[in-house]
């Protein structure tokens, strides 16, 4: 059992989800089964977190040869880089089954399949295995938006699906290129990431492959200018899907950059780091400004989420330990804040049938507990000290200033925009005048309050005792940086790049 901990975490939800789809079950049975399964996964997750030693290497390793002729293996493992992403994927999931009580069976089943596939993508240490889970996790999202989404769901579904699949297919080509290059250089086939990091790639095709990987992940994150699918998809998707997309799936994009792109394409990564970090900062500013002008709360949060993903991605491109640790920390922190805000908006929509900011007001007088919880999550999202959002953003900006003062200052000042749209929205929705819609707003009932309480506690815990989390991730971050960027920047600039047009393998 213990040996297969990760496999169980991947396949228990997937199999349960499929069984739920195949057999006639009532909504309530489906929901309770889903809840039990996710809680079981949650306990496994917590157990893994507690017994994780944080020495920097892979733990809970499973490796089994799958397709020998191409060296593809079923390889799983967890290290400091994936630990908090895994936590984001496990800890918050049971909430979805207690908050949304009246959805159809397929809704819960798809959520479970999505969870299993995401855990698979997080744990995979083989590039092909990762790709398979990466593609599979899109399918439940596709069906959830298309079946249970808002009124304009069809265009949104098509947009997100074609966008992401296009990115993934480009990644497939790049992935094959990496595998074949390894075969040419070392004479054997493998797609295991540990071995692939020994590759030395250079030349035109390497740059192309690097960008194909980056585009695939940039679409998922989404990084400016590949963010255009996000507002539609996040707005039209049912709330649980939006939560899954923003809190976990987007993070897997960032995680994949750290895990797969950084060690393999270290030279290209260093060469284009400034460009990529500018894309991150631009996304931050652009989406932040766009968020100010939104009239729909969910759409505003969608832009806010995109803006935050900009800073999370920025941390990766700064190529130093502080920023990387900050990013890894922020991945979990962002899930607890923005992800939870989406759930709150979902609750409000269920109660008032509207998300328009102008139609709301005065909720704080009717529902003080709800308003307090909302405020805490919101303040965590804008990065108030003593909440989870502060530590990560602080570390990222510290790293950004170390990397490039201009970008650092730009990123630091942009955080103000976040405060603008959030506080302004809060003022309009929770204070000001209440109207006939908000008159009868029900405060959180006991079970809802109890559902959200752990998250609120987590927000403070991560803000006040960050060391408990950072000590688990920092060694891995250090190793990753040390391995990938052994050579200083000046040397990278002078590395002779062979002429493009040839397949520049070192013979």
């Amino acid at each position: 059992m213990f040996e297969y901990a990760l496999s169980v975490m991947i396949f228990l939800p997937i199999v349960t989800g499929l069984v739920m789809l195949l057999f006639p079950l009532s909504k309530e049975t489906a929901r309770i089964t889903g809840f039990i399964v996710t809680v079981a996964i949650l306990f496994r997750g917590i157990e893994i977190f507690l017994s994780f030693t944080g020495t920097g290497g892979m733990e809970y390793v499973e490796s089994r040869s799958w397709i020998q002729s191409l060296g593809i293996s079923y390889g799983l493992g967890i290290d400091g880089i994936s630990l908090l992403v895994l936590m984001a994927g496990t800890v918050l999931f049971p909430m979805l089954f207690t908050i949304f009580k009246t959805q159809p069976k397929g809704y819960y089943a798809n959520l479970l399949i999505a969870q299993g596939a995401m855990i698979g993508a997080i744990c995979a240490t083989d590039l092909v295995l990762f790709y398979i889970f990466w593609e599979v996790m899109l399918l439940p999202i596709f069906f959830m938006i298309g079946l249970y989404g808002g009124s304009k769901r069809l265009p949104a579904t098509l947009k997100i699906t074609i966008y992401t699949i296009a990115g993934s297919l480009l990644m497939l080509a790049a992935l094959v290129y990496v595998g074949v290059s390894y075969h040419t250089q070392f004479g054997k086939w493998t797609f295991a990431i540990v071995q692939l990091s020994e590759l030395e790639l250079g030349g035109g095709f390497a740059v192309l492959a690097f960008f194909m990987f980056m585009v695939a992940f940039a679409i998922k994150i989404p990084l400016f200018p590949f963010h255009t699918w996000l507002p539609d998809a996040y707005t039209e998707a049912p709330t649980a899907t939006t939560f899954v997309l923003s809190a976990i799936m987007a993070k897997i994009g960032v995680y994949a950059v750290i895990r797969f792109v950084m060690p393999v394409f270290e030279i290209e990564f260093a060469r284009f780091a400034v460009l990529l970090s500018l894309a991150g900062v631009t996304g931050m500013i652009y989406c932040g400004l766009a968020a100010i002008s939104q009239k729909d709360m969910k759409r505003m949060l969608a832009f806010s989420s995109a803006s935050h993903m900009g800073i999370i991605a920025l941390g990766v491109f700064c190529m130093n330990v502080q920023a990387l640790t900050g990013t890894l920390f922020q991945i979990a922190a962002h899930a607890t804040s923005t992800g939870v805000l989406f759930l709150f908006v979902g609750l409000m929509e269920e109660r008032m049938q509207t998300r328009k900011i102008e139609n709301l007001g005065g909720i704080a007088y009717r529902a003080p507990i709800f308003a307090t919880f909302f405020a805490i999550a919101m303040l965590a999202s804008v990065g108030l000290p003593a909440t989870s959002g502060f530590i990560g953003e602080f570390l990222i900006i510290l790293g950004a200033i170390k990397f490039n003062a201009f970008i650092g200052i730009l990123a630091g000042t942009t955080l103000v925009i976040g405060v603008c749209y959030m506080l302004w929205m809060f003022q309009r929705v929770f204070f000001e005048r209440s109207n006939e819609r908000t008159e009868n707003f029900q405060d959180l009932n006991l079970s809802e309050a109890l559902t959200f309480l752990p998250v609120i506690v987590l927000i403070f815990a991560m803000g006040i005792f960050p060391q408990a989390f950072i000590k688990k991730i920092e060694p891995a971050a250090q190793q990753q940086i040390a391995k990938a960027f052994a050579m200083p920047q000046a040397q990278v600039a002078e590395t002779i790049v062979p002429t493009p047009g040839h397949n520049n393998h070192k013979e």
Binding site: L21, I67, S69, L70, V128, Y131, I132, E135, V136, L139, F143, G146, L147, R153, L154, T157, L158, T161, I162, I165, A166, L169, L170, L172, A173, V176, Y177, G179, V180, H183, F205, N503
Partner: protein, 469 residues
């Protein structure tokens, strides 16, 4: 392995065809019993072939056939695919002809004869043998396409296919004559040694190979000989279309690969040609598919696109130690996906195939969730989404192209599959995200349904345990 054993599947199918033909002449049995008999023969041949395939080796039939037939690992796999296609086609025909009443006893005999031709085509290593088996196969398919004589579209289809197919046959025989003129032989091995000894740019060899390629490209529905596919696939009955799209393509690509692999210089000389053919086939097929409203026409066009991917694999084959595994695997993956959709169409199409367009399948998932799920699996496999067989197949093709140094071709293949997502998704969206307007009542027998769900299992089994490679 005994030589006879290797030919045993062919013999079983051949005797089955003759038996059914005789039974049909005396009109002793019902149409449905004929379908059971042919299912039995296909199943028997399939298991014998499986037995043969479990001990792979290359056997040259030197004594009995004077080296005109060669059995290798690749041909046994191709044989397996063809026999499987035949089996599932008879299953879905059984259901289809309960509702559409134009079947006679000869139908199943002709399917068996066609299969004979296909099996022989995969084995042949000599141009005249290849021609004869190509014609056995084609003649059967012509008849099958035009089986519904009262249907005007079916008649149009057979006319188009017969005319153009006859041209292709003529090209093939002309190419054979040219090659014989140049090399004094029609055997692949001797052509290979001639090319190795002299040069591949001998005008007679060059012209001959070109004409033979024309015939193969026509049969494989590759650019620029793809225009007939849409109408012919549309006009034929659903099970027949499935059979054509899968078994026939398997046979043609097997002989195509065997022919290309006879000599490295020959293959090298035609790479650029095949490169452009592959690119135009993929993108031409995609452009046609995007504009279609009928599912069968869309599948016909997507068949063109898949021919394009197979051409990529052909460009990338290594002639030194040719194994054909990538092509074999791709054909298997493509066959299960396509056959699956066609067997689903066989029982969902209804009388006279009244449900044919994307619109007609709106809301299928609300009424028949399992059928919709099965079709979704097949579509995802054809689009190459993991963990289906189609993904693995695409992965192998791309890997083989990159390994052979054709990065551009691999990239263009990826671009084309991005385009293809659009029309596969369209059907899924119609099935799932719209409300049902009818009840999708189906008549007939459960055989086609059974075939569909067995094939769903195959899609995953082949995808997750790619033992062929």
């Amino acid at each position: 392995m005994d030589d006879l054993m290797l030919l045993f599947p062919l013999l079983i199918i051949g005797s089955g065809a003759l038996l059914l033909m005789l039974l049909a002449a005396f009109e002793k049995i019902e149409v449905e019993s004929a379908s059971y008999i042919s299912m039995g023969f296909f199943a028997a041949a399939f298991f014998v072939q499986l037995l043969v395939a479990s001990t792979p080796e290359t056997v040259l039939f030197g004594k009995i056939f004077n080296g005109m037939l060669v059995s290798s690992n690749f041909t046994t796999i191709a044989g397996l695919i063809i026999l499987g296609c035949g089996f599932f086609t008879t299953m879905s025909s059984h259901t289809y002809f309960r509702v559409n009443l134009f079947c006679t006893l000869e139908f199943y005999a002709i399917i068996l004869f066609g299969t004979c031709g296909m099996l022989l085509l995969t084995l042949s290593q000599e141009l005249i043998t290849a021609f004869i088996s190509l014609e056995i196969m084609s003649l059967s398919i012509y008849i099958l396409v035009g089986y519904d004589r009262s249907n005007i579209r079916s008649t149009e289809a057979i006319l188009k296919y017969l005319m153009l197919g006859a041209f292709a046959g003529a090209f093939f025989i002309m190419g054979t004559a040219f090659i014989y003129g140049g090399t004094q032989s029609t055997k692949f091995a001797e052509i290979g040694s001639f090319v190795a000894g002299h040069s591949a740019t001998n005008p007679l060899v060059l012209g001959g190979v070109f004409f033979i390629f024309v015939a193969f490209l026509f049969k494989a529905a590759a650019f620029p000989f793809h225009a007939w596919v849409i109408d012919v696939y549309d006009g034929a009955a659903a099970p027949v279309t499935g059979f054509m799209a899968t078994a026939l393509k398997t046979a043609v690509f097997t002989i195509f690969a065997n022919f290309l692999a006879i000599n490295g210089a020959l293959h090298q000389g035609w790479i650029t040609f095949l490169f452009y053919i592959a690119v135009f086939t993929m993108f031409g097929g995609n452009l046609i598919a995007i504009g279609q409203h009928s599912i069968k026409r869309m599948l016909a066009a997507s068949g063109i696109v898949h021919s394009g991917y197979l051409l990529i694999a052909l460009v990338a084959i290594s002639t030194d130690h040719f194994t054909g595994t990538v092509i074999g695997y791709y054909l298997a993956a493509y066959a299960v996906g396509t056959l699956g959709i066609f067997s689903a169409l066989s029982y969902l199409g209804g009388e006279g195939e009244k449900r044919a367009t994307f619109e007609d399948f709106k809301g299928l998932a609300k009424v028949r969730p399992y059928s919709a799920a099965a079709i979704t699996v097949f579509l995802l496999s054809m689009a190459g989404i993991p963990p289906t067989a189609g993904f693995m197949a695409k992965f192998y093709v791309i890997t083989s192209a990159v390994t052979a140094g054709h990065m551009t071709l691999a990239l263009l293949g990826i671009m084309s599959s991005i385009l293809s997502i659009r029309y596969y998704l369209r059907l899924i969206i119609n099935m799932y995200f719209h409300e049902a307007e009818e009840y999708f009542e189906t008549g007939g027998s459960p055989w086609a349904t059974a075939a569909t769900f067995i094939l769903v299992f195959c899609v995953f089994a082949i995808g997750l345990y790619p033992i062929v490679i």
